[in-house]
């Protein structure tokens, strides 16, 4: 798996103005499982741990400590080699509104924070200040900024740590190793592509798992209809608990209350280092949104969407379609496009107007995106493996995807006992699935063989009834494989020779052996692979007719076979559905004890339906016969038509 610097395509041109060295630095920072990255995160996590220790002192400190896990903007800042570059990247990644807030609140602090190598004392001071501020400030609005500020400071401290390596810090290093391992690669606060890479949905839809889980939960009807959706604040500790679980990939239990799900989704979006619409394109999206003509908007949006990185587009499509589903239930949740955009456009870092426009067009913009509920790969505690070959294949793909992720994470040094156990378990499930699939395939081969024998029986009389005095090796339908390949082979042998002209006739002993002792002159039609006898041969037409007819019948057979397979799958699906319903019915005893008809009525009704059904059955059979006859006629005509081509 390739974890290398995804930012190149994610933020095209973002670093265009910067020196190459800073670019490479960034790439190292961003590239997921590189050692440097790991190291960096570890350090950060150390700090988180440390802050946690201090948590008890202040009431609201814990909040800040948990929140401040990672904020790539700051990563940029601290990593950039020079002051000017720092401020540049900073401006780039933060939205205008944020910047404003920052400026007004922190005019004096900003330059300090951006100073290149402030002495440790100064930093200590700053940190103290920062803490004080935390005490004073409890407003949620400001939390973001504060978190960032704090992180920034922590980062500087970290640098110092590196330089000084004081005893105390080293001790901490040792004690926090466990947490470091678990927190090495966060999901929140990294680019969309990284988050997607790190917590995949293994069914091929490129969304970070946390987004998928939240949307899955919120897409349930009772969630969509709930008037709490996107309105009620969750319990903060719960929210942070889930954030931590997802960051640690410990999310065995997914979110189960609406406010938390909404806020977790919002938190993920808010902590993205750049808007979903990308810093490059967001301005152009805004332009389009202010376009007066609604009809033009859609095509222009379409064009812009094409330019978004794939994972951004997927994420955008899912959240928009989800939001659309929310406002479809306005009757229940009292949210329309306007009010929802009011609530969520700041999170998405776009204007209210743009969000309304996107909501208005989203179903047309993403016609082929369906919000499918995620079914995670099976584990050993799952009830059983699927039986249907198609389901097995789907499951295999999921498990393979999971296995690849485990391997790449382990190769990068993300190794825990749990991971190793999981590796063996996934491998075992894959082996079982493969064995099961193989036995299924064997069974299917057998049944198809049987099918072939039965279905090829009816068409057989048709060619036989034809006035065919031809060498019949060419087309007995039962031995279709040999006959199908035969013309192709002869075509290959003749390919090198000019064969279009019927006049230049070739002799090929090896193919003629099969037909008859006297060498027959023929050519092979390049397009169809048919054998064409010389025009003088009286049997030319017959042979051609038979070949064409054979082709048509084969087509029919294939068509029927695929239909049979489709029906079989349908049967299987319905069976499953039936079982599910049965279980449901058992769970909830039948409430419907409606008015039962009198005994006599009941019998009469039954009789009526049995008679009706048998009648329908008969009719259906007749129609089936008719279809078969019509189809035969069709084939005959088709053959005549194609005969004209030669």
């Amino acid at each position: 798996m390739d974890f290398d610097s995804p930012e190149e395509k994610d933020f095209p041109g973002l670093y265009a103005s910067e020196a190459i060295d800073s670019k490479s630095k960034k790439s190292k920072e961003e590239s997921d499982f590189s050692e440097g990255d790991h190291d960096k995160h570890s350090k950060k996590d150390l700090l988180i741990g440390r802050r946690k220790d201090k948590k008890d002192k202040g009431k609201d400190r814990g909040y800040a400590a948990l929140e401040g896990e990672s904020s790539p903007e700051e990563e940029l800042d601290t990593k950039s080699p020079s002051k000017s570059k720092k401020s540049k990247t900073f401006k780039f990644t933060s939205s205008k509104s944020k910047e404003k807030r920052e400026k007004s609140r922190d005019k004096d602090k900003e330059p300090k924070a951006l100073e290149e190598e402030p002495s440790q004392k100064a930093k200590e001071k700053e940190r103290e200040k920062e803490k004080d501020r935390h005490h004073d400030d409890k407003e949620h609005k400001k939390k973001d900024k504060e978190r960032k500020e704090k992180d920034k400071k922590d980062k500087f401290e970290k640098k110092d740590k590196k330089d000084k390596k004081s005893k105390q810090l080293q001790q901490e290093d040792a004690s926090e190793v466990e947490e470091v391992l678990a927190l090495g690669y966060p999901i929140f606060g990294v680019s969309i592509s990284l988050a997607t890479e790190r917590s995949r949905c293994h069914d091929g839809i490129d969304l970070p798992l946390v987004v998928r889980d939240c949307i899955d939960f919120l897409q349930q009807e009772q969630s969509l209809k709930c008037d709490h959706i996107y309105k009620v604040e969750p319990i903060k500790t719960r929210l942070l608990h889930y954030k931590r679980l997802y960051n640690n990939r410990d999310n065995d239990a997914s979110v189960d209350d609406i406010p938390t799900a909404c806020s977790l989704l919002k938190l993920f979006l808010r902590e993205l280092p750049e808007p979903v619409l990308t810093t490059d394109l967001v301005a152009r999206f805004e332009e389009v949104a202010s376009h007066p003509k609604v009809t033009d908007q859609q095509t222009e949006l379409q064009q812009l969407l094409e330019q978004l990185p794939k994972c951004n587009r997927t994420l955008l499509s899912w959240i928009l379609l989800h939001f659309d589903a929310v406002i479809q239930q306005e009757r229940y949740n009292k949210l329309n496009a306007q009010s929802l955009a009011m609530l969520l456009s700041p999170t998405l870092q776009m204007s209210h107007r743009l969000m309304v426009v996107l909501l208005c067009h989203c179903t047309n913009l993403f016609p082929d995106v369906k919000l499918i509920k995620y079914v995670p790969p099976l584990t050993s505690s799952s009830p059983g493996l699927p039986d249907n070959p198609e389901d097995i294949k789907t499951e295999l793909r999921k498990q393979d995807s999971l296995l690849t992720q485990i391997h790449s994470e382990m190769n990068a040094g993300f190794i825990t006992k749990k991971r190793e156990e999981q590796l063996w378990e996934v491998q075992r499930i894959i082996t079982q699935l493969k064995r099961k699939l193989r036995s299924c395939e064997k069974k299917q081969e057998k049944s198809i063989d049987e099918l072939e024998h039965t279905t090829s029986a009816p068409p057989a009389p048709a060619p036989a009834s034809q006035p065919a005095a031809q060498p019949t090796e060419q087309k007995p339908p039962t031995t279709n494989q040999s006959t199908v390949t035969a013309p192709i082979v002869s075509e290959d042998t003749i390919d090198s020779v000019p064969t279009h002209t019927v006049t230049s006739l070739q002799q090929h002993d090896e193919t003629n052996i099969a037909t008859s002792p006297p060498p027959i002159e023929y050519t092979v039609d390049k397009q169809t692979g048919y054998l064409l006898l010389s025009k003088s041969n009286p049997q030319r037409d017959d042979l051609l007719r038979l070949q064409i007819e054979y082709d048509e019948l084969m087509n029919w057979q294939n068509e029927l076979k695929t239909r049979i397979l489709a029906e079989r799958n349908e049967i299987f699906r319905m069976k499953q559905l039936y079982e599910q319903e049965l279980l449901k019915a058992q769970a909830a005893p039948t409430i419907s004890q409606e008015q039962l008809p009198a005994e006599g009525d009941y019998e009469r009704i039954i009789e009526h339906y049995t008679r009706e059904n048998s009648l329908l059955e008969h009719k259906k059979q007749m129609l089936g016969m008719e279809i078969k006859e019509e189809r035969r006629a069709c084939i005959a005509l088709q053959v005549e038509l194609r005969m004209q081509e030669f």
């Binding site: 391997h407 382990m410 190769n411 006992k417 190793e420 590796l423 063996w424 075992r428 894959i430 082996t431």
Partner: protein
């Protein structure tokens, strides 16, 4: 790990290594399902679990059947790290596969960093003795150098198939018990000292 055996039967992790086509999968499938697969299909990685009775005690054995081909060497380390015992297989009809065992041994020692890791050298395809390319004493010499047992097997006739697996898990099991003893013994003196 030491806590787990108390919950369920002890679990021993065995890894099959060796060049491609020497019969690692054949041995595994013969042991697991008593079946012999004639047609060759390269393995990427497969894992199996089986309950067996080892010296009257029920244990679970996890077998990981790895790829012989170099193409999958990158993922090999991840498996080797978690393996507790190794069956290093070669074909007695193929000298190259015998030479390759040296590399596998080295790789395992590098990852496990333990000279005495449970390990068996297995010469497979002994039913094809008439096509033997690797002399018996050469195999024995190598096994002696490594101070590991050498066993010849046939996945086709099932000769010694159970033996290699059972010998290995017996080795793993006794090592684990030894470890537990080691942990317990030094623990004892300390309370004594406190009493004194």
């Amino acid at each position: 790990m030491s806590k787990k055996p108390t919950a369920g039967p002890a679990l021993h992790k065995v890894i099959m290594v060796g060049s491609g086509g020497v019969g690692k999968s054949a041995l595994t499938l013969q042991f697991m399902y008593d079946e012999f697969v004639e047609d060759y299909e390269p393995t990427k990685a497969d894992s199996y679990r089986k309950k067996v009775v080892l010296d009257g005690e029920e244990v679970q054995i996890d077998i990981l059947d790895t790829a012989g081909q170099e193409d999958y060497a990158a993922i090999r380390d991840n498996y080797f790290r978690s393996g507790e015992g190794f069956l290093c297989v070669f074909s007695i009809t193929d000298d190259e596969s015998f030479q390759a065992t040296q590399e596998f041994r080295e790789q395992i020692l590098r990852v496990k960093n333990d000279e005495s890791i449970p390990f068996l050298l297995v010469g497979n395809k002994c039913d094809l003795n008439d096509k033997r390319k690797v002399p018996l004493n050469e195999c024995q010499v190598r096994a002696q150098q490594w101070s590991v047992p050498y066993v010849e097997t046939s996945a086709k006739t099932r000769e010694n198939v159970d033996k290699v697996f059972f010998d290995l898990i017996r080795d793993i099991s006794s090592r684990k018990k030894q470890r537990q003893m080691d942990v317990k013994e030094p623990a004892k003196p300390s309370p004594c000292c406190q009493l004194l």
